[in-house]
């Protein structure tokens, strides 16, 4: 069994940044395992611009952002295996992977970093009634067909879900000659950035149907059309508002889920809300020496945050390999009253150097409200927010000084408040 100090599962933005972070801490024996034929992960198919504003202070396309990290990894001579699928890991940090050239690989690691990313919710997850015909794709699959493989999945398109991938694909399909007839969104607001609504829909006159859903898909061999209807405040279709739209393609952009089948095999505890591992301030899971970062941990909105978080995970894994322990249980963090979850879930103040960033999402749209952080009963932070939306990840910074102020603190709560 080959041995490494740190094995990173996934060679996307999270995996590459984690490897770079670990190498910067002086760890030599690193290995990235990537199932695709190149590094970069989902960035390779995200050919639109807007990446890296925080990290590089310029707007890059996905492949350009990826290339900067691929080059850095190459310069640092970080080893990686492509076309290599990890099929098993366990809590002893033994990994089984498989590829065409080497067959089955058995690897033992001192630390594992989970960086497998997320996957799209499929049709089955939202139970749309109607025919089970061809022509129904997740927006990300369609993106890969168009941008990597050079195929168009269809000519007349309806998109369900107005998250950023759906909006980006509405523009992409239009530019490639398709007619996008509507983007249909269940909620009364879009989950995507305003910029994408304007530049992907309004620029091309594509209608956005808020508070609507698809009630039926019609088609024999191939999609022939969909029926959409308005929904009430309980998100139930309203009778009499049905409208039939002819189309040959339906794209689904209905959310992302962290991909944690492997984490389960190693008994990593997952959050019921994010679908990602519960981690502490050092991004270690409940299993000693197994860390997690990027979209496998919780779905991010900006790749810049994935990079920052993952460098951190890499550095902590390196410190673990060098003998530090992150096992001591810390203060539990709870998201309440509008705050759906927090990452991390536990903070041990001993492991905080200057500050720790706590990231979370809210469950609804809030205007002119406050984000509050309580150390037990005491409100320590009260930050005015003009707007909070479920589509945007929020961050609060908890400093060393705050933890020193409340040495007996048992629980930290983060909530949305009116005043």
């Amino acid at each position: 069994m080959k041995e490494y100090d740190i094995v990173i599962i996934g060679g996307g933005p999270a995996g590459m940044a984690a490897a770079i972070g670990a190498r910067e801490e002086g760890i030599e024996e690193i290995l990235i395992l990537e199932r695709d034929s190149c590094l970069g992960g989902i960035l390779n198919q995200c050919i639109h611009n807007g990446f890296g504003l925080h990290t590089f202070k310029e707007e890059l396309t996905g492949p350009e952002y990826a290339e900067r990290f691929i080059q850095k990894a190459e310069e640092m001579k970080i080893p990686y295996k492509l076309n290599t699928m990890v099929i098993d890991i366990n809590k002893n940090k033994e990994i089984v992977a498989v590829n065409e050239e080497e067959g089955i690989l058995e690897i033992k690691a001192k630390a594992i970093i989970l960086a497998m990313g997320c996957r799209e919710r499929p049709r089955g997850a939202i139970n749309i009634p109607g025919s089970r015909c061809a022509g129904i794709y997740s927006a990300g699959s369609a993106q890969k067909f168009v941008n990597i493989d050079g195929y168009m999945p269809g000519k007349e398109v309806v998109i369900l879900g107005s998250g950023d991938i759906g909006l980006i694909m509405a523009r992409r399909m239009t530019l490639e000659g398709a007619e996008v007839k509507a983007v249909v969104e269940l909620m009364p607001y879009s989950g995507g950035l305003k910029r994408n609504i304007v530049q992907c829909l309004d620029d091309f006159g594509i209608p956005l149907k808020l508070a609507h859903t698809i009630t039926s898909i019609k088609g024999k061999g191939r999609v022939e059309g969909v029926t959409i209807a308005k929904v009430d405040e309980n998100r139930k279709p309203i009778k009499g508002t049905e409208e039939y739209i002819e189309c040959d393609t339906l794209l689904l952009s209905v959310g992302l889920l962290p991909e944690n089948e492997l984490s389960n095999k190693a008994n990593v505890k997952l959050s019921q809300i994010t679908g990602g591992p519960e981690v502490n301030e050092s991004l270690q899971t409940n299993i000693e020496g197994i860390f997690a970062c990027g979209n496998v941990l919780h779905v991010h909105d900006l790749v810049d945050y994935v990079t920052l978080e993952s460098i951190n995970a890499g550095k902590n894994a390196a410190r673990y390999v060098k003998g530090e322990s992150f096992n001591e249980k810390g203060i539990e963090l709870k998201g309440l009253e509008g705050v759906r979850y927090t990452v991390p879930k536990y903070i041990n103040p001993k492991n905080i150097d200057k500050a720790v960033e706590v990231r979370f999402r809210v469950g609804d749209v809030y205007k002119e409200s406050y984000i509050s952080v309580y150390f037990d009963e005491t409100r320590e932070l009260h930050l005015k927010k003009r707007i909070l939306t479920p589509g945007e990840m929020e961050t609060v910074k908890l400093t060393r000084e705050m933890f020193d102020k409340y040495p007996e603190c048992k629980e930290i709560t983060v909530k949305v408040e009116g005043e």
């Binding site: 050919i47 290339e67 305003k194």
Partner: protein, 126 residues
Amino acid sequence: MREFRNLICIGCPIGCDMEVTLEEGKVSEVKGNTCVRGKNYAEKECTNPTRIVTSSVRVQGGEIDSVSVKTQSDIPKNKIMKCIEELKGITLNAPVKAGEIIIRNVADTGVSIISTKTVAKTNEDM
């Protein structure tokens, strides 16, 4: 001549609905914005709206069959479709390096189309 235009600000998630008044093609008033970003955006968007255009073109003999491209800087919004038309039918031969110029002066904008990804030559004959 006086004109009115309705815009959604893209500066932040609030997305203010703005009403812009144009006099002789110049912005004379912006209403509905909450901050200066809205006003700046409205002025740019009403007088000289521009976009970065991204797309992909076919590649022969490469590890993958297409390469992503973009306009090196933003171009006028009304040139987007012309730009896309000029990209149609282009086939490159691998290898393609990121940053390589694919088309000079696309759609008479003075801006070049460059590749945003490196595509290596394939090793084997497929």
